[in-house]
């Protein structure tokens, strides 16, 4: 594990980070090496962290671990708020076909855990924000891929999550729709001051959406990070890391 946390400003002392991960370990039975072996990261309130990395580096495993979908072997995951409010958007929208668009967005309100934060009137606000008001009562089978994924973002936002976890949310869409939705999500994140943990394999998506971009290089965690707004990071710089990333140096803690 890296001994220091080089050059990375921590969250302001007054506010706790939205998410703190320390020493996360995860092995799959039968696998020769662990999928995650001491991963650390900090996600600040209101920022979008885009996680890039080669296929099989375990970045999706990391997201699933944070989402509680993978039992852990060690380490800790702490949310800023004690009730660990997060929501996940998966690569496939996973909408419930027996419900309308509006009912899909309101799904979280049917679960006791979200009762204190969920207001039905917010669903209508969200439909407006997401540009889905005209489709509110449409059966979800009739939606395009991009519309369906916007509904799935709305379903996540309806429970007012402290952290929004996005697992390659746009990778199944055609390039034009993908670009539209990236810009749309960028605006949404700013407008609603969202805290986002985004796993992607699309370098341009990471640059478009990420306040910070972390390069996830394998079980030990992050190797490099960029702050596009400050450094003017280019896709080329990031791609260079894909080509020569495994230099054996210690991991970064981001």
């Amino acid at each position: 594990m890296g001994a220091a946390e080089p050059g990375l400003s921590r969250a302001a002392p007054a506010s706790r980070p939205a998410l703190t991960v320390r020493g996360l370990r995860k092995s799959y039975p039968g696998a020769s090496s662990p999928a995650l072996d001491g991963v650390d990261l900090t996600l600040r309130n209101g920022e979008t962290l885009a996680v890039l990395g080669p296929s099989g580096s375990g970045k999706s495993t990391l997201l699933r671990a944070i989402a509680g979908l993978e039992p852990l072997d060690g380490g800790s995951i702490e949310f800023g708020d004690a009730d660990e409010r997060f929501a996940v958007v998966f690569q496939d929208p996973g909408l419930f076909p027996w419900l309308s668009v509006r009912q899909n967005i309101a799904l979280g309100g049917r679960y006791r855990r979200n009762r204190d934060r969920f207001e039905d009137s917010r669903v209508d606000d969200l439909l407006g924000i997401l540009g889905l008001t005209p489709l509110a009562h449409t059966p979800v089978q009739e939606l395009s891929g991009g519309q369906a994924q916007r509904v799935s973002v709305g379903r996540a936002l309806a429970v007012r999550p402290d952290v929004l976890l996005l697992d390659e949310p746009f990778s199944a869409l055609d390039p034009a729709t993908r670009k539209d939705l990236q810009l749309w999500l960028r605006g949404l994140a700013t407008e609603l001051d969202l805290t986002v943990f985004l796993v992607t394999h699309d370098v341009d998506e990471a640059i478009t959406l990420g306040d910070r971009i972390g390069f996830f290089a394998g079980p030990r965690g992050f190797r490099q990070q960029w702050v596009p707004a400050r450094d003017g990071t280019t896709a080329e710089q990031i791609l260079a890391h894909y080509r020569g990333s495994d230099d054996g140096s210690g991991n970064w803690v981001i």
């Binding site: 509680g68 496939d92 929208p93």
Partner: protein, 309 residues
């Protein structure tokens, strides 16, 4: 988009009829019936598309029903010819002559038995189906959800469903006495397996992503059951109930020949004992017609609903 709502589908309507091949060649195919995700789990499902298919092929929406009427007329003609040709051989066959039916119907209605017995049979059928659904759906949920339960129960379930429910008739009468209870028991014993098997198939066809979505939104196991599992398996359960309905209607007639003194099955034996063979045949016709009506009603009641708005 993911999560296409997998639905049991009519397995009986073949995509291409043979007389159709002769007329139009093999090039016409029906896309709705070739979708592999819509194959049913256990026999035929709600046959929504059959009438539409017929009309598309032959041009007129009345062609199918018209051929049906023709089929009935041919059958009646054969029936008439046979019962007249063989009338000398047996008094029973003579009593079966079609022209004697109106008199038999009148006689049955006069005694008020057909309506009363039909209602009695229907009531027992509904009770049996309710019991079978109440047992079959939870059992199917368990079989579909838990591997170990599936492995443990498989030999017993396979054994029980291959035992004709009527084999239990003496046991049912001995334990439950005479009256409605043994009939309801036998109907439930026949109806429980299609419902169980279809429910289990529905659970196995669940989209794991739907479960994960509910889980990450904080659903408890009970909430997952209510908001994901039950709505997902609904079409499978409906198909199971419809299959069960058909089997139950077949089983209820012999079941009513044992230990009860009402119902359509009893009425067949009653007519035989009174040597009123024409009335016996009328009861058989009523059983068939009621069964057809029940199946139509079930198709309509158990059709897949449009998403709630």
């Amino acid at each position: 988009m993911s999560g296409a709502h997998r639905t049991p589908q009519d397995a009986s309507g073949t995509p291409t009829d043979l007389d159709d091949v002769a007329r139009t060649g093999p090039s016409r195919s029906d896309p709705s019936s070739s979708d592999p995700s819509r194959s049913g789990p256990d026999g035929p499902g709600p046959g929504r598309s059959a009438p539409a298919r017929t009309s598309r092929r032959t041009g007129s929406p009345w062609a199918g029903p018209a051929w049906g009427v023709f089929g009935v007329l041919v059958t009646v003609a054969v029936w008439w010819a046979f019962t007249h040709a063989a009338a000398g051989a047996s008094t029973m066959i003579a009593a079966f002559q079609p022209e004697r039916m109106p008199g038999a119907v009148a006689s049955l209605f006069e005694r008020g038995v057909v309506v009363q017995d039909g209602l009695t049979s229907l009531w027992r059928l509904l009770c049996g189906l309710a019991v079978a659904t109440g047992l079959g759906v939870p059992l199917g949920l368990l079989i579909g959800s838990y591997r170990r339960f599936r492995w443990t129960s498989a030999p017993v379930v396979q054994f029980l469903r291959m035992v004709s429910p009527l084999s239990w008739a003496p046991v049912a009468v001995a334990l439950l006495g005479v009256g409605n209870a043994p009939v309801i028991f036998l109907v439930a014993a026949a109806a429980v397996w299609p419902i169980t098997m279809n429910t289990a198939a529905g659970v196995k066809a669940l989209d794991p992503l739907h479960l994960r979505v509910a889980e990450t939104l904080g659903a408890t196991p009970v909430e997952r059951l209510r908001t994901v599992v039950l709505p997902s398996i609904r079409p499978f359960v409906m198909t199971g109930v419809r299959l069960a309905l058909g089997i139950s209607w077949v089983v209820i007639v012999p079941a009513e020949m044992l230990g009860v003194s009402s119902g359509l099955g009893y009425e067949i034996l009653n007519a035989r004992d009174r040597l009123a063979y024409d009335e016996m045949l009328v009861v058989i016709l009523v059983i068939g017609l009621l069964g057809m009506a029940l199946d139509q009603l079930a198709q309509w009641l158990l059709r897949e609903p449009a998403p709630r708005r």
